[in-house]
């Protein structure tokens, strides 16, 4: 390799390494203070107190959805591995919203309640036909709901 190319190669590689190190540090730093969402247990531990509005992420607890008869108001409970948070929302919910579904709610705390202004449904990365899902559900009986529930939580 001639000296000019050698020099260019060194310069380009040096710049590339510098950029990679810099962005690795940025990514590392952002991992600690860039929070898209807080889980109920994080909120209860007081990690979200410095935010006026924030996103709450977790699973809709089975049997906790209560709809109002005369308005769009709905209340439900969002849970994670160890935390529980009652949520109140007034608006249209996404189609995927249901029990044991991961949701991300944007809103603020009102006492011990979380008042949401937007509720988004999060789905997992699994795709399969309905027949297969039913067959699996039958094979696992009740076990599969717990399993998919804990899977959803870990993917949050």
């Amino acid at each position: 390799m001639n000296p000019t190319r050698q020099r260019r190669l060194t310069i380009v590689i040096a710049i590339l390494i510098a950029v990679i190190v810099a962005s690795a540090l940025v990514v590392y730093a952002l991992q600690q203070n860039m929070n898209y969402l807080f889980t109920p247990s994080q909120v209860q531990a007081g990690e979200a107190t410095s935010y006026k509005t924030f996103r709450l992420g977790g699973m809709v607890k089975a049997g906790s959805i209560q709809r109002s008869n005369d308005s769009l108001r709905v209340t439900f409970t969002v849970v994670d591995a160890s935390g529980v948070m009652p949520v109140e929302y007034n608006g249209i919910l996404p189609d995927l919203f249901r029990e044991n579904q991961s949701v991300i709610a944007t809103g603020h705390m009102d006492g011990a309640r979380f008042v949401a202004t937007e509720v988004l449904a999060k789905h997992d990365e699994t795709y399969m036909p309905k027949e297969l899902k039913d067959a699996m559900a039958k094979a696992h009986q009740g076990k599969h709901i717990d399993e998919s529930a804990s899977q959803d939580k870990s993917s949050l």
């Binding site: 190319r5 260019r8 190669l9 380009v12 710049i15 590339l16 950029v19 990679i20 962005s23 990514v27 952002l30 991992q31 860039m34 929070n35 898209y36 969402l37 992420g57 919910l93 996404p94 189609d95 995927l96 919203f97 991300i104 937007e118 509720v119 988004l120 449904a121 999060k122 789905h123 997992d124 990365e125 699994t126 795709y127 399969m128 036909p129 309905k130 027949e131 297969l132 899902k133 039913d134 993917s155 949050l156």
Partner: protein, 252 residues
């Protein structure tokens, strides 16, 4: 061992050889891309069963995911070509890097639009500033920046080298896009297709996805070769081999 490979690559990097090679390969790539694309669309939209939780709405995956893969893959190719262009000043590498940018930008744009449509149906929102969506948007801006920088120079080779620099630096965004769903809490779900370990999609749904992936790759090859040939002709317009091609065209 097979020392004809570097020799062949070295020969291929000469503009007239590449011009002929790309011209011969291009029609095949277009034809195969079209056939495989149609097969994949039929497989994805008609043959594949509805998803257990998303119903028929998940079918946009057959466009969204292959395009998203291409948006990263093309950036990778562009980055490598840019590196070669910066160090060895090979004309073909400059041409490949610059011809890749608009194709990659288109795939990124399609990814963002189809993702937005899908998100509205499933998540309940067109857009959210989570790590995956934001880094993919940054990828689009990088592509657009490379294109803009390339065209802002009078001298095309100087423009290509300057833009190659931006392309090379921007390559750090590629792993960020890919791993964003693991590194941060995002609304976007994790990867379905895994190279290591089992994929979380049933076989009846995965084959149209992989077929579409091959179709998009072939389309990229066809499109890249077409663009590169035109760029080579205009860059080498004074040279003998171009004059020869022009004379043959006139005679025909």
């Amino acid at each position: 061992m097979a020392h004809w490979i570097p020799l062949w690559l070295h020969k291929l990097s000469s503009p007239p050889v590449f011009y002929g090679f790309a011209g011969k390969l291009r029609p095949w790539a277009i034809a195969l891309a079209l056939v495989l694309g149609l097969v994949a669309l039929y497989g994805g939209l008609v043959l594949a069963p509805p998803d257990y939780q998303q119903g028929d709405d998940y079918r946009i995956i057959f466009i969204h995911v292959p395009c998203a893969w291409m948006s990263l893959f093309i950036y990778g190719v562009m980055g490598i070509a840019a590196f070669i262009a910066l160090v060895w000043r090979i004309k073909l590498a400059e041409v490949v890097a610059m011809a890749s940018a608009p194709i990659g930008a288109s795939f990124t744009f399609i990814t963002l639009v189809t993702g937005s449509l899908w998100g509205e149906r499933m998540w309940g929102t067109w857009w959210t500033w989570d790590a995956r969506l934001t880094s993919e948007l940054v990828l689009l801006f990088l592509y657009l920046g490379v294109i803009a920088l390339y065209h802002s120079f009078e001298d095309r080779r100087q423009g290509a080298r300057t833009a190659a620099f931006l392309a090379l630096i921007g390559i750090v965004n590629v792993p960020i896009v890919h791993f964003s769903v693991n590194w941060w809490n995002t609304l976007h779900q994790g990867s379905t297709i895994r190279l290591l370990g089992p994929s979380s999609i049933s076989p009846s749904m995965i084959w149209p996805l992989l077929t579409m992936m091959i179709a998009t790759k072939l389309y990229y090859i066809a499109s890249l070769f077409g663009r590169a040939r035109v760029d080579l002709l205009s860059l080498e317009s004074g040279k003998d081999w171009v004059r020869q091609i022009a004379e043959n065209e006139v005679r025909r």
